[in-house]
Symmetry: C2
Subunit: 457 residues, 2 copies
């Protein structure tokens, strides 16, 4: 696990030069058949699989995650690329509709053009250069300019090279995917006229700044940000009585997975007061106490973890129950996992922010009459984007029915980057009124019409 | 056509009080069955139809439109309400999807909550209090707070009263739809925590200000604005040769319909240089010359028309060909329709803004080799939201395949307020992971499952 000084990542072009290349590649890619785009996604998945060991090794050095975690993530990444191939071959995502009348009106979704992708620090593969945003944007027919992540630049470069080679194998221009580097380049990308939408996974602070930039452009563009989330978990009194040991272990493991650096981490866990609740809390305390110090993704994450846990500890009524606070230490020193507890009565209605990293807060509630699972489900479903019953919030699969992210700051838009409908973010509707068959796009030609008519409503 | 001083519209409550009422009414409406919501839409349509003459008379005084235009618009409005009833009974808009696995994951779209609607000046019915935004939001299950339009307050109040009564007839709380008045109330609405999205039809200037407010909230909300649009029309050299008289008359009538106060008005018309193009231009000139002065919707529209046409006339190479410039005059004096012409060579790449009102610009092009209909269709489809072949841009029908609005400022978002998919703007995805059948919303229950499975992809 010793980290050698990483070799410098290859030089990258200016934003202007990069966008020039993207402009050159985008039209042919947008006009390509879905079959050909799906082939490019499959070729990318195969090429990433073939380079698994080298990629995992690179990412292991840059992220401090273990091999098994990264192998699992890379597998998820290639599955995701193949899945978006399925999504576009299926074709329902095009939302084709036809109205007859004096002339036919056909509606279909078409690609936006060039889009920008800011990958995450915590999923170097699955939400990185060839991750969910890129895969869905390529599936949609958009050219992608990636902003390199400063905390794993070599992983970014390696994935980029594989992705660009796979595009060429699939007979596309490599410049369908390009990359820029640095904070200023990111800002330039979000404000560039050529960029038509932005996908971002990261901190609330950074994401909000870019969101505001995108909204303030002369012609605003959609900003799809996935920022912070608390992922509240409720343990009913009955469940605590029946399964304290199992649930305590499950929740601790969910909170500590990837050193707590998951957007689906349970940040606040509601547990009833009384003996059964005490038992669950104790299991979690034991797990946190016995959990080794961990190195976080980068300095900024470490700083925010130390500051965030410090701020939580300072709140009235909040006590450290498991593990320990991390204070001071070097920029890349490991941190201690830490578990907090507070009683709901004392806590009042303090607004909690996400603290990224190995920490969670147990909130003890006393009003057992209100604590039925049904009541919680009703309350939560009014504000969350995903309601999980009898299971951990971590461990999301990417499928047709997946939705990730609830209200702001969990998501800055209604749409999310995980699951089939992520493709929706890179498309716009276009209606053809009375346009002759020969001039309709391939997706609206007669041989597609039976699908279209069937899918019409 | 003489306009008596309108009786004052009834007093309205504060934004805070109005939102309190909306909060009271919203949950039951969101939870109601689609059948019951569709019944409320139909009841509203029937009630508006029953009051047709009184409504048209009110709107005639407040907008200066003629009776036939307003009768047609009211009919379109009630058709639209009934259409959204169909859309929700159909159910495909829910985007239900299910993934099997260790546990089932179901995805469905659910209503956002309370939304704000700023209706247009130019469509007092079809994009007013019970217009496209309100109809689609009610269909989605959202409570609606309307901002009264200052240029037709009595029409707003009359429609509101009918709509609220129809809601009660359909056994809903009248406060599912409420209204606020005044500029400050509008600003308060867009920044209110309870408001989850905004629909706006109006000027680029006002819309942009509200867009920026919505984006700058602590938790930003979607702002669906339909602002200005040029609606470029291309007449190919061949069409000009074959049908100069017919096309000239059609285009002039399209530009002058509703005194040019349509978001689909042809604002710039590309016509080839040479004899055939001259003939089309002359037909349009004759139509503009013989067109009577008209009263515009309100003072602001008049001011902007006078300023906008004045600015166009001052551009290098632009000449007044038909009608005449309107200068000075009283705040509510009629204006003269005016037709401009310029040669493309002289015009260069000046960026045109929409000028609302009875005016258009003929742009004479010479590069006939580039002027095939196919070439134009290709170029235009990269930036517009609707491509009309061999027909005027005005006269949009509301259907399953309708899309209205292209890039900014035509639309501030990817979605538009016209057509079935307008409902999409008031919904958010919610995924249920492993949730027991009994706790799923009605739309995801077993008796709906066959629909869902069929619609899955």
């Amino acid at each position: 696990m010793d980290t050698p000084a990483p070799a410098p990542a290859p030089a990258l072009e200016s934003v202007e030069g990069t966008l020039r290349r993207a402009r050159g590649a985008a039209p042919a890619f947008a006009a390509a058949s879905r079959r050909d785009r799906a082939a490019a996604l499959l070729a990318t998945a195969d090429a990433l699989d073939a380079e698994r060991d080298a990629l995992v090794d690179l990412a292991r050095h840059e992220t401090h995650y273990g091999t098994a975690i990264l192998e699992g993530e890379l597998e998820r990444t290639t599955q995701q690329l193949r899945f978006f191939g399925e999504v576009i071959l299926d074709g329902a995502y095009l939302e084709r509709a036809t109205d007859g009348g004096a002339v036919d009106v056909h509606r279909v979704l078409v690609p936006l053009g060039i889009v920008a992708v800011f990958g995450s620090s915590n999923f170097p593969f699955a939400y990185g250069v060839a991750g969910g945003d890129t895969a869905s944007a390529l599936a949609a027919g958009c050219a992608v300019v990636v902003k390199e992540h400063p905390s794993h630049p070599r992983t970014c470069s390696a994935v980029l090279a594989i992705l660009r080679a796979a595009l060429v194998t699939a007979r596309f221009d490599a410049d369908v995917v390009t990359m820029v580097r640095g904070f200023d380049a990111g800002v330039e990308l979000v404000t560039a006229t050529d960029v038509r939408a932005v996908g971002f996974t990261g901190s609330t602070r950074g994401g909000r700044a870019l969101h505001d930039l995108a909204a303030s452009r002369p012609a605003p563009i959609p900003f799809y940000g996935e920022l912070g989330s608390l992922n509240p978990v409720v343990v009913t009194a009955l469940a605590a009585q029946e399964r304290a040991g199992e649930l305590g272990a499950l929740l601790a493991s969910s909170a500590l997975q990837r050193a707590g650096q998951m957007c689906t981490k349970p940040g606040v866990i509601l547990v009833a007061e009384g003996d059964a609740g005490d038992a669950i809390a104790q299991v979690m305390v034991d797990e946190f106490d016995s959990s080794a110090p961990v190195r976080l993704l980068n300095e900024a994450v470490r700083e925010q973890f130390v500051a965030g846990t410090g701020a939580l500890a300072a709140l009235s009524g909040v006590v450290v129950r498991g593990g320990a606070l991390s204070e001071g230490g070097g920029k890349s020193d490991p941190v201690r996992p830490v578990l907090f507890e507070v009683s709901a009565a004392e806590f009042g209605d303090v607004e909690l922010d996400e603290v990224f990293g190995p920490t969670s807060l147990i909130l003890r509630y006393s009003d057992v009459t209100e604590a039925s699972a049904e009541a919680f489900a009703r309350v939560l479903s009014s504000s969350v984007g995903r309601l999980v019953w009898n299971g951990p919030t971590t461990g999301l699969t990417v499928g047709w029915a997946t939705h990730h992210g609830g209200g702001y700051p969990s998501s800055t838009s209604i749409h999310s980057s995980v699951g089939a409908t992520a493709i929706r973010r890179w498309l716009r509707p276009l209606s053809y009124q009375g346009v002759p068959e020969a001039l309709l796009p391939d997706d609206l030609r007669a041989d597609e019409r039976s699908t279209r008519t069937a899918a019409r409503r």
